[in-house]
Protein backbone atom coordinates (compact mmCIF):
# COMPACT_ATOMS: atom_id res chain seq x y z
CA UNK A 1 0.00 0.00 0.00
CA UNK A 2 1.17 3.48 -0.80
CA UNK A 3 2.22 5.20 2.44
CA UNK A 4 0.14 8.39 2.78
CA UNK A 5 2.34 10.74 4.80
CA UNK A 6 -0.57 12.80 6.15
CA UNK A 7 -2.18 9.64 7.56
CA UNK A 8 1.12 8.42 9.02
CA UNK A 9 1.67 11.76 10.75
CA UNK A 10 -1.96 11.80 11.88
CA UNK A 11 -1.94 8.40 13.59
CA UNK A 12 1.46 9.07 15.18
CA UNK A 13 0.62 12.55 16.55
CA UNK A 14 -2.99 11.86 17.45
CA UNK A 15 -2.06 8.48 18.90
CA UNK A 16 0.41 10.10 21.30
CA UNK A 17 -2.10 12.87 22.05
CA UNK A 18 -4.86 10.40 22.88
CA UNK A 19 -2.43 8.32 24.94
CA UNK A 20 -1.49 11.37 26.99
CA UNK A 21 -5.16 12.34 27.33
CA UNK A 22 -6.06 8.85 28.57
CA UNK A 23 -3.35 9.02 31.24
CA UNK A 24 -4.24 12.57 32.31
CA UNK A 25 -7.94 11.75 32.39
CA UNK A 26 -7.33 8.82 34.72
CA UNK A 27 -4.31 9.96 36.77
CA UNK A 28 -5.53 13.55 37.25
CA UNK A 29 -8.58 12.51 39.27
CA UNK A 30 -6.44 9.94 41.13
CA UNK A 31 -4.14 12.74 42.20
CA UNK A 32 -0.98 11.15 40.79
CA UNK A 33 -0.15 14.27 38.79
CA UNK A 34 -0.12 17.91 39.98
CA UNK A 35 -3.61 19.40 40.07
CA UNK A 36 -2.29 22.86 39.29
CA UNK A 37 -3.57 25.10 36.49
CA UNK A 38 -0.13 25.11 34.91
CA UNK A 39 0.11 21.34 34.67
CA UNK A 40 -3.50 21.10 33.46
CA UNK A 41 -2.83 23.70 30.78
CA UNK A 42 0.47 22.21 29.62
CA UNK A 43 -0.70 18.59 29.81
CA UNK A 44 -4.17 18.83 28.28
CA UNK A 45 -2.93 21.59 25.97
CA UNK A 46 -0.22 19.34 24.54
CA UNK A 47 -2.58 16.35 24.28
CA UNK A 48 -5.29 18.28 22.44
CA UNK A 49 -2.76 20.09 20.23
CA UNK A 50 -1.32 16.75 19.08
CA UNK A 51 -4.81 15.33 18.55
CA UNK A 52 -6.02 18.38 16.62
CA UNK A 53 -2.86 18.70 14.56
CA UNK A 54 -3.12 15.05 13.62
CA UNK A 55 -6.80 15.28 12.72
CA UNK A 56 -6.21 18.35 10.55
CA UNK A 57 -3.28 16.67 8.85
CA UNK A 58 -5.42 13.62 8.10
CA UNK A 59 -7.71 15.76 5.96
CA UNK A 60 -4.72 16.63 3.75
CA UNK A 61 -4.94 13.29 1.95
CA UNK A 62 -8.57 13.88 0.99
CA UNK A 63 -9.58 14.91 -2.50
CA UNK A 64 -12.10 17.30 -0.94
CA UNK A 65 -11.00 18.32 2.59
CA UNK A 66 -13.77 20.93 2.73
CA UNK A 67 -16.30 18.10 2.75
CA UNK A 68 -14.63 16.28 5.67
CA UNK A 69 -17.61 17.04 7.95
CA UNK A 70 -19.68 14.63 5.87
CA UNK A 71 -17.54 11.80 7.24
CA UNK A 72 -19.41 12.06 10.54
CA UNK A 73 -22.62 10.70 9.06
CA UNK A 74 -22.08 6.98 8.39
CA UNK A 75 -21.10 5.69 11.83
CA UNK A 76 -23.58 2.84 11.46
CA UNK A 77 -21.39 1.03 8.96
CA UNK A 78 -18.04 2.78 8.55
CA UNK A 79 -15.10 2.63 10.96
CA UNK A 80 -13.66 5.77 9.39
CA UNK A 81 -16.88 7.60 10.20
CA UNK A 82 -16.87 6.15 13.73
CA UNK A 83 -13.30 7.40 14.17
CA UNK A 84 -14.43 10.89 13.17
CA UNK A 85 -17.39 10.84 15.56
CA UNK A 86 -15.32 9.42 18.44
CA UNK A 87 -12.51 11.93 17.89
CA UNK A 88 -14.90 14.88 18.03
CA UNK A 89 -16.86 13.42 20.95
CA UNK A 90 -13.61 13.19 22.93
CA UNK A 91 -13.24 16.98 22.86
CA UNK A 92 -16.36 17.44 25.01
CA UNK A 93 -15.30 15.64 28.23
CA UNK A 94 -11.67 16.62 27.61
CA UNK A 95 -12.71 20.26 27.37
CA UNK A 96 -14.81 20.07 30.53
CA UNK A 97 -11.93 18.38 32.37
CA UNK A 98 -9.69 21.18 31.10
CA UNK A 99 -12.01 23.86 32.46
CA UNK A 100 -12.01 22.21 35.88
CA UNK A 101 -8.27 21.59 35.92
CA UNK A 102 -7.01 24.88 34.49
CA UNK A 103 -9.52 27.40 35.87
CA UNK A 104 -10.73 25.76 39.09
CA UNK A 105 -7.74 23.48 39.83
CA UNK A 106 -10.21 20.68 40.46
CA UNK A 107 -10.10 17.16 39.08
CA UNK A 108 -12.52 15.55 41.52
CA UNK A 109 -16.23 14.74 41.47
CA UNK A 110 -17.87 15.75 38.19
CA UNK A 111 -14.50 16.63 36.65
CA UNK A 112 -13.15 13.21 37.59
CA UNK A 113 -16.08 11.63 35.77
CA UNK A 114 -15.28 13.78 32.74
CA UNK A 115 -11.66 12.65 32.93
CA UNK A 116 -12.69 9.01 32.87
CA UNK A 117 -15.13 9.69 30.02
CA UNK A 118 -12.39 11.48 28.02
CA UNK A 119 -10.13 8.47 28.55
CA UNK A 120 -12.87 6.08 27.41
CA UNK A 121 -13.61 8.14 24.28
CA UNK A 122 -9.90 8.44 23.52
CA UNK A 123 -9.47 4.65 23.72
CA UNK A 124 -12.55 4.37 21.51
CA UNK A 125 -10.99 6.66 18.92
CA UNK A 126 -7.77 4.62 18.86
CA UNK A 127 -9.78 1.41 18.49
CA UNK A 128 -11.70 2.95 15.56
CA UNK A 129 -8.43 3.96 13.89
CA UNK A 130 -7.12 0.41 14.19
CA UNK A 131 -10.41 -1.04 12.97
CA UNK A 132 -10.28 1.01 9.76
CA UNK A 133 -7.31 -1.16 8.82
CA UNK A 134 -8.21 -4.38 10.63
CA UNK A 135 -11.64 -4.53 9.00
CA UNK A 136 -10.24 -4.81 5.45
CA UNK A 137 -10.02 -8.49 4.36
CA UNK A 138 -8.38 -7.32 1.12
CA UNK A 139 -5.13 -6.57 2.97
CA UNK A 140 -3.76 -9.69 4.66
CA UNK A 141 -1.21 -7.91 6.89
CA UNK A 142 -3.88 -5.62 8.33
CA UNK A 143 -6.79 -8.03 8.68
CA UNK A 144 -5.64 -9.60 11.93
CA UNK A 145 -6.38 -9.33 15.67
CA UNK A 146 -3.13 -7.57 16.69
CA UNK A 147 -3.60 -4.41 14.63
CA UNK A 148 -6.07 -2.72 16.99
CA UNK A 149 -4.14 -3.53 20.20
CA UNK A 150 -0.95 -2.18 18.61
CA UNK A 151 -2.61 1.15 17.81
CA UNK A 152 -3.93 1.45 21.37
CA UNK A 153 -0.69 0.28 23.01
CA UNK A 154 1.55 2.56 20.96
CA UNK A 155 -0.76 5.49 21.71
CA UNK A 156 -0.50 4.74 25.44
CA UNK A 157 3.26 4.17 25.34
CA UNK A 158 4.04 7.41 23.49
CA UNK A 159 1.55 9.18 25.78
CA UNK A 160 3.39 7.80 28.82
CA UNK A 161 6.72 9.10 27.47
CA UNK A 162 5.15 12.54 27.01
CA UNK A 163 3.75 12.44 30.54
CA UNK A 164 7.19 11.55 31.89
CA UNK A 165 8.64 14.57 30.10
CA UNK A 166 5.87 16.91 31.26
CA UNK A 167 6.27 15.90 34.90
CA UNK A 168 9.99 16.68 34.79
CA UNK A 169 9.20 19.92 32.98
CA UNK A 170 7.12 21.13 35.94
CA UNK A 171 9.80 19.87 38.32
CA UNK A 172 8.07 16.74 39.59
CA UNK A 173 10.41 13.75 39.66
CA UNK A 174 8.55 10.49 40.12
CA UNK A 175 9.57 6.87 39.85
CA UNK A 176 6.22 5.66 38.57
CA UNK A 177 6.24 7.75 35.38
CA UNK A 178 9.35 6.11 33.85
CA UNK A 179 8.05 2.75 35.05
CA UNK A 180 4.70 3.38 33.36
CA UNK A 181 6.53 4.24 30.15
CA UNK A 182 8.65 1.08 30.39
CA UNK A 183 5.62 -1.15 31.01
CA UNK A 184 3.48 0.33 28.23
CA UNK A 185 6.43 0.24 25.81
CA UNK A 186 7.06 -3.40 26.70
CA UNK A 187 3.40 -4.25 26.09
CA UNK A 188 3.40 -2.42 22.75
CA UNK A 189 6.68 -4.12 21.77
CA UNK A 190 5.21 -7.53 22.51
CA UNK A 191 2.04 -6.79 20.55
CA UNK A 192 3.94 -5.33 17.58
CA UNK A 193 6.22 -8.37 17.48
CA UNK A 194 3.16 -10.61 17.49
CA UNK A 195 1.56 -8.48 14.78
CA UNK A 196 4.63 -8.76 12.52
CA UNK A 197 4.93 -12.49 13.16
CA UNK A 198 1.29 -12.97 12.30
CA UNK A 199 1.53 -10.88 9.12
CA UNK A 200 4.62 -12.83 8.01
CA UNK A 201 3.10 -16.21 8.73
CA UNK A 202 -0.32 -15.51 7.21
CA UNK A 203 -0.94 -17.73 4.23
CA UNK A 204 -1.16 -16.07 0.81
CA UNK A 205 -4.52 -17.61 0.02
CA UNK A 206 -5.33 -15.77 -3.21
CA UNK A 207 -3.73 -16.73 -6.52
CA UNK A 208 -4.10 -15.34 -10.02
CA UNK A 209 -5.69 -18.65 -11.06
CA UNK A 210 -8.36 -18.09 -8.43
CA UNK A 211 -8.80 -14.39 -9.14
CA UNK A 212 -9.42 -14.95 -12.83
CA UNK A 213 -11.32 -18.21 -12.37
CA UNK A 214 -9.06 -19.66 -15.08
CA UNK A 215 -7.13 -22.12 -12.93
CA UNK A 216 -9.10 -25.01 -14.43
CA UNK A 217 -7.18 -24.48 -17.70
CA UNK A 218 -3.77 -24.49 -16.06
CA UNK A 219 -1.23 -21.95 -14.93
CA UNK A 220 -2.23 -18.32 -15.51
CA UNK A 221 0.44 -15.81 -16.57
CA UNK A 222 -0.06 -12.12 -17.24
CA UNK A 223 0.40 -11.44 -20.96
CA UNK A 224 -0.63 -7.83 -21.58
CA UNK A 225 -1.56 -5.22 -18.98
CA UNK A 226 -4.60 -3.08 -19.79
CA UNK A 227 -2.49 0.06 -20.15
CA UNK A 228 1.11 1.16 -20.62
CA UNK A 229 1.63 3.18 -17.42
CA UNK A 230 0.68 2.39 -13.81
CA UNK A 231 -2.91 3.42 -13.07
CA UNK A 232 -4.41 4.63 -9.78
CA UNK A 233 -4.97 1.11 -8.47
CA UNK A 234 -1.32 0.18 -9.09
CA UNK A 235 -0.01 3.45 -7.67
CA UNK A 236 -2.14 3.18 -4.52
CA UNK A 237 -2.22 -0.57 -3.95
CA UNK A 238 0.95 -1.69 -5.71
CA UNK A 239 3.57 -0.05 -3.51
CA UNK A 240 6.21 -2.61 -2.74
CA UNK A 241 9.24 -2.65 -0.50
CA UNK A 242 12.08 -5.14 -0.76
CA UNK A 243 12.07 -7.78 1.94
CA UNK A 244 15.66 -7.03 2.93
CA UNK A 245 14.93 -3.33 3.28
CA UNK A 246 11.80 -4.06 5.27
CA UNK A 247 13.70 -6.26 7.72
CA UNK A 248 16.34 -3.57 8.21
CA UNK A 249 13.72 -0.86 8.67
CA UNK A 250 11.83 -3.04 11.14
CA UNK A 251 14.98 -3.35 13.25
CA UNK A 252 15.49 0.42 13.14
CA UNK A 253 11.83 0.97 14.07
CA UNK A 254 12.19 -1.40 17.04
CA UNK A 255 15.37 0.38 18.19
CA UNK A 256 13.80 3.84 17.97
CA UNK A 257 10.32 2.98 19.26
CA UNK A 258 11.12 0.50 22.00
CA UNK A 259 14.77 -0.18 22.83
CA UNK A 260 16.03 3.41 23.14
CA UNK A 261 13.01 4.77 25.07
CA UNK A 262 13.01 1.77 27.47
CA UNK A 263 16.75 2.13 28.20
CA UNK A 264 16.43 5.90 28.56
CA UNK A 265 13.45 5.53 30.90
CA UNK A 266 15.47 3.07 32.99
CA UNK A 267 18.32 5.58 33.12
CA UNK A 268 15.87 8.28 34.23
CA UNK A 269 15.08 6.20 37.29
CA UNK A 270 18.70 6.60 38.29
CA UNK A 271 19.48 10.07 37.02
CA UNK A 272 18.81 13.44 38.62
CA UNK A 273 16.08 15.73 37.32
CA UNK A 274 18.39 18.00 35.29
CA UNK A 275 19.76 15.27 33.06
CA UNK A 276 16.40 13.48 33.44
CA UNK A 277 14.64 16.20 31.43
CA UNK A 278 17.08 15.78 28.54
CA UNK A 279 16.73 12.01 28.72
CA UNK A 280 12.92 12.24 28.67
CA UNK A 281 13.05 14.54 25.66
CA UNK A 282 15.36 12.11 23.89
CA UNK A 283 12.99 9.23 24.59
CA UNK A 284 10.04 11.20 23.16
CA UNK A 285 11.93 12.15 20.00
CA UNK A 286 13.21 8.62 19.49
CA UNK A 287 9.80 7.02 20.00
CA UNK A 288 8.13 9.61 17.77
CA UNK A 289 10.54 8.87 14.93
CA UNK A 290 10.18 5.14 15.59
CA UNK A 291 6.37 5.19 15.44
CA UNK A 292 6.48 7.25 12.22
CA UNK A 293 8.73 4.57 10.71
CA UNK A 294 6.53 1.78 12.09
CA UNK A 295 3.44 3.37 10.51
CA UNK A 296 5.28 3.87 7.23
CA UNK A 297 6.20 0.18 7.22
CA UNK A 298 2.61 -0.71 8.15
CA UNK A 299 1.61 0.70 4.75
CA UNK A 300 4.66 -0.15 2.69
CA UNK A 301 4.68 -3.82 3.69
CA UNK A 302 0.94 -4.34 3.23
CA UNK A 303 -0.08 -6.19 0.09
CA UNK A 304 -3.49 -5.73 -1.49
CA UNK A 305 -5.29 -8.65 -3.11
CA UNK A 306 -6.13 -6.64 -6.26
CA UNK A 307 -2.49 -6.71 -7.34
CA UNK A 308 -2.80 -10.33 -8.40
CA UNK A 309 -4.74 -9.08 -11.44
CA UNK A 310 -1.68 -6.97 -12.20
CA UNK A 311 0.90 -9.72 -12.12
CA UNK A 312 1.58 -10.59 -8.48
CA UNK A 313 1.50 -14.35 -8.17
CA UNK A 314 -0.37 -14.45 -4.85
CA UNK A 315 -1.75 -12.23 -2.12
Amino acid sequence: MHPAYSVIFFTTASGAGYGLLILLGLLGPLGWVPQTSVFGLVGLGLALTLVTGGLLSSTAHLGHPERAWRALSQWRSSWLSREGVASLATYVPAGVLGIGWVFLERTDGFFAAMGVLAAVFAVGTLVCTGMIYASLPTIRAWHQPFVVPVYVALGLATGALLLSLLLLLVGVATAWAPWLAILTLAAAWLLKTASWARADRAERIYTVEQATGLGRFGKVRPLEPPHTQPNYVMREMGYRIGRKHAQKLRRIAVMLTFVVPVLVSALMLAAGSGIGLLLALGAVVSAGAGVLLERWLFFAEAEHVVMIYYGREAA
Binding site: M1, H61, L62, G63, H64, P65, R67, A68, R70, A71, L72, S73, Q74, R76, S77, S78, W79, L80, S81, G84, I132, S135, L136, P137, T138, I139, I205, Y206, V208, Q210, A211, T212, G213, L214, R216, F217, G218, K219, V220, R221, P222, L223, E224, P225, P226, H227, T228, Q229, P230, N231, Y232, V233, R235, E236, M237, H304, V305, V306, Y309, Y310
Partner: protein, 250 residues
Protein backbone atom coordinates in the same frame (compact mmCIF):
# COMPACT_ATOMS: atom_id res chain seq x y z
CA UNK B 1 -26.64 5.75 3.40
CA UNK B 2 -23.80 3.30 3.32
CA UNK B 3 -25.78 0.59 5.04
CA UNK B 4 -26.89 -1.84 2.38
CA UNK B 5 -30.45 -2.45 1.25
CA UNK B 6 -31.75 -5.79 2.61
CA UNK B 7 -32.50 -6.91 -0.91
CA UNK B 8 -32.77 -5.26 -4.27
CA UNK B 9 -35.80 -5.55 -6.54
CA UNK B 10 -33.53 -6.33 -9.48
CA UNK B 11 -29.87 -7.25 -9.81
CA UNK B 12 -28.71 -5.50 -12.93
CA UNK B 13 -25.32 -6.58 -14.11
CA UNK B 14 -23.12 -7.87 -16.88
CA UNK B 15 -22.28 -11.32 -18.14
CA UNK B 16 -18.84 -11.31 -19.73
CA UNK B 17 -17.87 -14.09 -22.11
CA UNK B 18 -14.16 -14.89 -21.79
CA UNK B 19 -14.53 -17.25 -24.75
CA UNK B 20 -15.46 -14.63 -27.31
CA UNK B 21 -13.70 -11.55 -25.94
CA UNK B 22 -10.95 -10.67 -28.41
CA UNK B 23 -9.36 -7.94 -26.30
CA UNK B 24 -10.10 -5.18 -28.82
CA UNK B 25 -10.57 -2.61 -26.00
CA UNK B 26 -13.76 -1.26 -27.64
CA UNK B 27 -15.64 -1.64 -24.35
CA UNK B 28 -12.92 0.20 -22.45
CA UNK B 29 -12.59 3.10 -24.88
CA UNK B 30 -16.33 3.51 -25.40
CA UNK B 31 -16.74 3.46 -21.60
CA UNK B 32 -14.13 6.18 -21.21
CA UNK B 33 -15.76 8.22 -23.99
CA UNK B 34 -19.29 7.91 -22.62
CA UNK B 35 -18.43 8.45 -19.00
CA UNK B 36 -16.24 11.47 -19.49
CA UNK B 37 -19.41 13.19 -20.66
CA UNK B 38 -22.02 11.33 -18.60
CA UNK B 39 -22.66 10.66 -14.92
CA UNK B 40 -18.96 10.35 -14.10
CA UNK B 41 -17.87 13.49 -15.97
CA UNK B 42 -15.13 14.57 -16.03
CA UNK B 43 -13.14 11.35 -16.22
CA UNK B 44 -9.75 12.98 -16.21
CA UNK B 45 -6.30 11.93 -17.33
CA UNK B 46 -3.00 13.08 -15.92
CA UNK B 47 -0.01 13.89 -18.11
CA UNK B 48 -1.90 12.54 -21.14
CA UNK B 49 0.79 13.47 -23.69
CA UNK B 50 3.78 13.18 -21.37
CA UNK B 51 6.04 10.40 -20.21
CA UNK B 52 3.71 9.02 -17.55
CA UNK B 53 0.14 9.21 -18.82
CA UNK B 54 -2.56 7.75 -16.62
CA UNK B 55 -6.16 8.45 -15.80
CA UNK B 56 -9.39 7.11 -14.43
CA UNK B 57 -10.87 4.28 -16.49
CA UNK B 58 -13.90 2.35 -15.34
CA UNK B 59 -13.24 -0.74 -17.41
CA UNK B 60 -9.88 -2.33 -18.09
CA UNK B 61 -9.07 -5.31 -20.27
CA UNK B 62 -6.23 -7.56 -19.13
CA UNK B 63 -4.79 -10.40 -21.18
CA UNK B 64 -3.55 -13.61 -19.61
CA UNK B 65 -1.82 -16.63 -21.04
CA UNK B 66 -3.36 -19.77 -19.62
CA UNK B 67 -2.11 -23.36 -19.68
CA UNK B 68 1.06 -24.87 -21.07
CA UNK B 69 2.43 -25.73 -24.50
CA UNK B 70 -0.01 -26.66 -27.25
CA UNK B 71 -2.85 -26.36 -24.78
CA UNK B 72 -2.04 -22.79 -23.80
CA UNK B 73 -4.39 -20.04 -24.81
CA UNK B 74 -4.75 -16.30 -24.58
CA UNK B 75 -7.68 -15.12 -22.50
CA UNK B 76 -8.73 -11.50 -22.64
CA UNK B 77 -10.15 -10.48 -19.33
CA UNK B 78 -12.26 -7.32 -19.02
CA UNK B 79 -12.51 -6.10 -15.43
CA UNK B 80 -14.95 -3.52 -14.11
CA UNK B 81 -17.24 -3.06 -11.12
CA UNK B 82 -19.18 -6.26 -10.42
CA UNK B 83 -22.03 -4.41 -8.62
CA UNK B 84 -21.72 -6.83 -5.70
CA UNK B 85 -24.69 -7.82 -3.56
CA UNK B 86 -22.67 -7.06 -0.43
CA UNK B 87 -20.17 -4.48 -1.67
CA UNK B 88 -17.37 -3.90 0.85
CA UNK B 89 -16.68 -0.54 -0.83
CA UNK B 90 -20.08 0.83 0.19
CA UNK B 91 -20.11 0.00 3.89
CA UNK B 92 -16.66 1.53 4.54
CA UNK B 93 -17.65 4.88 3.01
CA UNK B 94 -17.70 7.48 5.81
CA UNK B 95 -19.86 10.05 4.02
CA UNK B 96 -22.67 8.09 2.42
CA UNK B 97 -21.42 9.06 -1.03
CA UNK B 98 -21.20 5.37 -1.93
CA UNK B 99 -24.47 3.55 -2.08
CA UNK B 100 -26.23 0.54 -3.52
CA UNK B 101 -29.55 1.25 -5.13
CA UNK B 102 -32.46 -0.73 -3.71
CA UNK B 103 -34.39 -0.67 -7.01
CA UNK B 104 -31.79 -2.24 -9.31
CA UNK B 105 -28.69 -3.02 -7.25
CA UNK B 106 -26.39 -0.59 -9.07
CA UNK B 107 -23.49 0.61 -6.91
CA UNK B 108 -22.88 4.32 -7.36
CA UNK B 109 -20.78 7.16 -5.97
CA UNK B 110 -22.35 10.56 -5.43
CA UNK B 111 -19.65 12.89 -6.78
CA UNK B 112 -21.06 15.80 -4.76
CA UNK B 113 -20.54 14.19 -1.35
CA UNK B 114 -17.46 11.99 -1.94
CA UNK B 115 -14.49 13.36 0.02
CA UNK B 116 -11.92 11.33 -1.91
CA UNK B 117 -10.57 9.39 1.09
CA UNK B 118 -9.95 6.34 -1.16
CA UNK B 119 -10.96 3.88 1.56
CA UNK B 120 -13.50 2.26 -0.79
CA UNK B 121 -10.70 1.41 -3.21
CA UNK B 122 -8.81 -0.28 -0.36
CA UNK B 123 -11.91 -2.31 0.51
CA UNK B 124 -12.65 -3.50 -3.04
CA UNK B 125 -10.83 -6.75 -3.93
CA UNK B 126 -11.43 -6.19 -7.64
CA UNK B 127 -9.78 -2.81 -8.20
CA UNK B 128 -13.06 -1.48 -9.55
CA UNK B 129 -12.79 1.98 -8.05
CA UNK B 130 -10.34 4.55 -9.30
CA UNK B 131 -9.47 7.92 -7.85
CA UNK B 132 -9.81 10.86 -10.20
CA UNK B 133 -6.74 12.92 -9.37
CA UNK B 134 -8.13 16.10 -10.91
CA UNK B 135 -11.72 15.78 -9.70
CA UNK B 136 -10.72 14.61 -6.19
CA UNK B 137 -13.45 11.96 -6.02
CA UNK B 138 -13.73 8.24 -6.67
CA UNK B 139 -15.00 7.04 -10.04
CA UNK B 140 -16.50 3.69 -10.88
CA UNK B 141 -18.69 1.85 -13.37
CA UNK B 142 -22.24 3.19 -13.18
CA UNK B 143 -23.61 0.39 -15.36
CA UNK B 144 -24.39 3.39 -17.59
CA UNK B 145 -27.23 4.41 -15.32
CA UNK B 146 -27.55 7.47 -17.57
CA UNK B 147 -28.21 5.28 -20.65
CA UNK B 148 -30.23 2.30 -19.47
CA UNK B 149 -33.21 4.36 -18.30
CA UNK B 150 -32.85 7.08 -20.95
CA UNK B 151 -36.12 7.14 -22.81
CA UNK B 152 -34.82 9.54 -25.42
CA UNK B 153 -32.62 6.70 -26.65
CA UNK B 154 -33.77 4.01 -29.08
CA UNK B 155 -34.55 0.84 -27.08
CA UNK B 156 -31.47 -0.97 -28.44
CA UNK B 157 -29.26 1.81 -27.08
CA UNK B 158 -30.63 1.56 -23.54
CA UNK B 159 -27.80 -0.72 -22.49
CA UNK B 160 -24.37 0.02 -21.06
CA UNK B 161 -22.13 1.47 -23.72
CA UNK B 162 -19.55 -1.31 -23.30
CA UNK B 163 -22.20 -3.87 -24.21
CA UNK B 164 -23.31 -1.76 -27.16
CA UNK B 165 -19.75 -1.39 -28.41
CA UNK B 166 -18.62 -5.00 -28.12
CA UNK B 167 -18.14 -6.32 -31.69
CA UNK B 168 -18.14 -9.99 -30.70
CA UNK B 169 -21.13 -10.04 -28.37
CA UNK B 170 -18.93 -10.94 -25.44
CA UNK B 171 -20.80 -8.63 -23.08
CA UNK B 172 -24.40 -9.07 -22.02
CA UNK B 173 -26.54 -6.85 -19.83
CA UNK B 174 -29.65 -7.77 -17.85
CA UNK B 175 -31.28 -8.68 -14.57
CA UNK B 176 -29.29 -11.42 -12.87
CA UNK B 177 -31.82 -11.53 -10.05
CA UNK B 178 -34.43 -12.96 -12.39
CA UNK B 179 -33.65 -16.61 -13.13
CA UNK B 180 -35.74 -16.42 -16.31
CA UNK B 181 -33.82 -13.50 -17.81
CA UNK B 182 -31.61 -14.07 -20.85
CA UNK B 183 -28.44 -13.24 -18.89
CA UNK B 184 -29.34 -15.61 -16.05
CA UNK B 185 -30.09 -18.37 -18.55
CA UNK B 186 -26.83 -17.73 -20.35
CA UNK B 187 -24.84 -17.77 -17.12
CA UNK B 188 -26.53 -20.99 -16.01
CA UNK B 189 -26.02 -22.68 -19.38
CA UNK B 190 -22.35 -21.74 -19.76
CA UNK B 191 -21.28 -22.19 -16.16
CA UNK B 192 -20.96 -18.50 -15.36
CA UNK B 193 -18.78 -17.93 -12.31
CA UNK B 194 -18.08 -15.25 -9.71
CA UNK B 195 -14.68 -13.60 -9.36
CA UNK B 196 -13.11 -14.37 -5.97
CA UNK B 197 -16.25 -15.69 -4.25
CA UNK B 198 -14.01 -16.20 -1.18
CA UNK B 199 -14.15 -12.48 -0.42
CA UNK B 200 -17.86 -12.72 0.34
CA UNK B 201 -18.75 -9.67 -1.75
CA UNK B 202 -21.18 -11.75 -3.82
CA UNK B 203 -20.56 -10.20 -7.25
CA UNK B 204 -23.60 -9.80 -9.49
CA UNK B 205 -21.59 -9.80 -12.73
CA UNK B 206 -20.79 -13.26 -14.04
CA UNK B 207 -17.89 -14.46 -16.18
CA UNK B 208 -18.34 -17.23 -18.74
CA UNK B 209 -15.32 -19.55 -18.99
CA UNK B 210 -13.60 -20.14 -22.32
CA UNK B 211 -15.08 -23.13 -24.13
CA UNK B 212 -12.97 -26.29 -24.48
CA UNK B 213 -10.59 -26.32 -27.45
CA UNK B 214 -12.15 -27.89 -30.53
CA UNK B 215 -9.06 -29.44 -32.09
CA UNK B 216 -7.87 -31.39 -29.08
CA UNK B 217 -11.00 -32.58 -27.43
CA UNK B 218 -9.59 -35.18 -25.12
CA UNK B 219 -6.78 -33.02 -23.81
CA UNK B 220 -8.98 -29.99 -23.29
CA UNK B 221 -11.64 -32.10 -21.66
CA UNK B 222 -9.03 -33.15 -19.14
CA UNK B 223 -7.98 -29.52 -18.70
CA UNK B 224 -11.54 -28.38 -18.04
CA UNK B 225 -11.91 -31.02 -15.40
CA UNK B 226 -14.37 -33.15 -17.37
CA UNK B 227 -13.05 -36.61 -16.75
CA UNK B 228 -12.24 -38.47 -19.94
CA UNK B 229 -12.31 -42.03 -18.66
CA UNK B 230 -9.03 -43.73 -19.22
CA UNK B 231 -9.32 -47.38 -20.15
CA UNK B 232 -10.07 -49.05 -23.42
CA UNK B 233 -13.85 -49.56 -23.33
CA UNK B 234 -14.48 -45.86 -22.63
CA UNK B 235 -11.93 -44.54 -25.06
CA UNK B 236 -13.81 -45.95 -28.06
CA UNK B 237 -16.74 -43.64 -27.47
CA UNK B 238 -14.41 -40.80 -26.45
CA UNK B 239 -12.51 -41.26 -29.72
CA UNK B 240 -15.77 -41.31 -31.65
CA UNK B 241 -16.92 -38.03 -30.11
CA UNK B 242 -13.52 -36.51 -30.66
CA UNK B 243 -13.70 -37.54 -34.32
CA UNK B 244 -17.28 -36.26 -34.60
CA UNK B 245 -16.34 -32.99 -32.99
CA UNK B 246 -13.38 -32.57 -35.33
CA UNK B 247 -15.46 -33.29 -38.42
CA UNK B 248 -18.29 -31.03 -37.35
CA UNK B 249 -15.84 -28.27 -36.48
CA UNK B 250 -14.48 -28.05 -40.00
Amino acid sequence: MTTLPRSTARKLGLVIDLDTCVGCQACATSCKEWNTGGYSAPLTDQDPYGADPHGAWLNRVHAYEVGEGAQSRTVHFPRSCLHCETPACVTVCPTGASYKRAEDGIVLVNPDTCIGCKLCSWACPYGAREYDYADGVMKKCTLCVDRIYNETFAPEDRIPVCVRACPTGARHFGDLGDPASAVSQLAAERGGFDLLPETGCKPVNKYLPPRPRRDATAASAAATGVSANSGDEASASARFFAWADKVLSR
